[in-house]
């Protein structure tokens, strides 16, 4: 398959970026989006040009490092997958593909398609944990948890912190990410002790870092590669009211 690529290039955080046009040919339909970019980078290196910087790590959809806003959608035109799991067969032969970095004030571009997502780490540091002394591994089922709660907590825990929710949201809001983390812990008995402090601190940090406000538009839910539901946002709101008003 052949593609025309319009890719955002930017030397560093301060530089003014621009779109560059590239052509790739003979791409296998079974190759992943990142592998296609690898091939382009090989080409660029041979031509003694700077390769394109993009984030990636596991390449199996579990680490949350890959990003890319592809043809107007974070992680491209497939549902429930990360960019590393997106295959070129999802595109039309000869298609022009626009590739942009995540755009948000809280996610500044570092270089080309790489953005600084440490704002998410700061939100986690504000309260997305449980303070326990980590001794030996506790017995399974030592703490009984109802099946439904365990399922909901597991669903929320699937969030890999990729930031597609922020990228997709017209307000660059981080509500889905924060809601997933708050829900994950709020649903489990271990999370109860610090529940009130946690939700207040994480929401305050999220606001402080310059993410937008939720307007219940649902773009996050539509684009989340882990299909985190906005019911988690409603749960976080409930937790927040409970913590702030009681």
């Amino acid at each position: 398959m052949d593609f025309t690529l319009k890719i955002w290039r930017q030397e560093n955080a301060k530089a003014k970026g621009r779109f560059e046009t590239y052509h790739v040919t003979n791409i296998s339909p079974d190759c992943s989006f990142l592998e296609m970019l690898d091939q382009l980078n090989e080409q660029l290196i041979q031509q003694k040009q700077m390769p394109i910087c993009f984030d990636h790590d596991c390449r199996e959809g579990i680490c949350g490092m890959c990003s890319l806003y592809i043809n107007g959608r974070p992680h491209g035109n497939d549902t429930g997958v990360t960019t590393c799991q997106l295959h070129m067969r999802r595109f039309k032969d000869g298609e022009t593909i626009w590739i942009e970095p995540w755009r948000a004030k809280a996610f500044p571009v570092i270089r080309d398609l790489v953005v600084d997502r440490s704002a998410f780490d700061k939100i986690i540091q504000a309260g997305g944990y449980i303070s326990v002394s980590t001794g030996g591994v506790p017995d399974a089922n030592a703490i009984p948890i109802p099946k439904e709660k365990a399922e909901l907590a597991m669903d929320a825990a699937q969030c890999i912190g990729c930031g597609a929710c922020v990228a997709a949201c017209k307000n660059a809001s981080a509500m889905l990410f924060v809601a997933a983390k708050v829900s994950h812990l709020a649903l489990l008995p271990q999370g109860q002790v610090e529940a009130k402090r946690r939700v207040k601190a994480m929401v305050a940090k999220m606001d402080e870092l310059g993410f937008g406000n939720c307007t219940n538009t649902g773009a996050c839910e539509a684009e989340c590669p882990k299909e985190i539901k906005i019911t988690n946002i409603a749960r976080m709101n409930r937790e927040f009211y409970k913590a702030s008003l009681t």
Binding site: N77, G210, G212, G218
Partner: protein, 220 residues
């Protein structure tokens, strides 16, 4: 507490509560408006207007109502400005995500409602207060019946009013279910019902309001 009302979620909760209060008010307003259509020369309508302008409880509610409008609008604008600032560099290829359509235009439909509100006040409320001269055809400051009929006899005014109502419907289409989500009310059984009622409300209320100028214009 101050922290709560300054937080993103706190501000949204205020908007949602104020918005729902406005939505309840619209039902009361519409039920009075529909009396215009009663074939009694405006007698029942004027009676209702008199009640609404003289009752003490209604006066107190009026303060709440203006407060709600003001806060809903102020918070709406503040949140929207913050949301624009949260993405200083826009995408070139715009978002193709599957989302609710009307939710993207809340600030626009909201500001259109605000413009309508100003026109509406010029035509009625300010006349009542004596800030705007009594229009031709009306006998006194509280003669809303004749003011309504005269305005709606004008096809330009009536059709503008109808268009405003359609746009208000767009606002309400997203608003009702959104307010419940903001309040943290999301439930596998009840949320589909809330969404259904929200959409039904967003269609029926503007339809009710829009029916009056239509009727006055073509069947009176």
């Amino acid at each position: 507490m101050a922290k709560f009302f300054n937080s993103s979620i706190g501000k949204k909760l205020m908007m949602a509560l104020m918005g729902l209060f406005l939505a309840v008010f619209l039902v009361v307003h519409l039920s009075i408006n529909l009396l215009v259509l009663k074939n009694d020369g405006g007698e029942s309508y004027q009676k209702a207007v008199e009640f609404m302008t003289s009752n003490v409880l209604i006066k107190i509610m009026e303060v709440f109502l203006f407060g709600s409008f003001a806060l809903h609008i102020i918070y709406g604008i503040i949140l929207q400005i913050q949301n624009w600032l949260a993405r200083p560099v826009r995408y070139v290829k715009t978002n193709h995500s599957q989302t609710s359509f009307f939710s993207k235009y809340m600030i626009h439909t909201g500001l259109i409602i605000f413009i309508f509100l100003i026109i509406h006040f010029m035509n009625f409320y300010f006349v009542k207060l004596g800030w705007v001269a009594i229009p031709e055809g009306a006998t006194h400051r509280h003669d809303f019946y004749n003011m309504v009929i005269n305005l709606f006899k004008n096809p330009f005014y009536s059709w503008l009013y109808i268009i405003f109502m359609v746009l208000m419907g767009f606002h309400l289409h997203h608003a009702i279910q959104s307010a419940f989500q903001t309040m943290g009310w999301n439930h596998p059984i009840y949320t589909p019902i809330v969404k259904f009622i929200g959409v039904a409300y967003a269609i029926l209320i503007p339809l009710g309001f829009a029916f009056i100028p239509f009727y006055v214009l073509y069947f009176f």
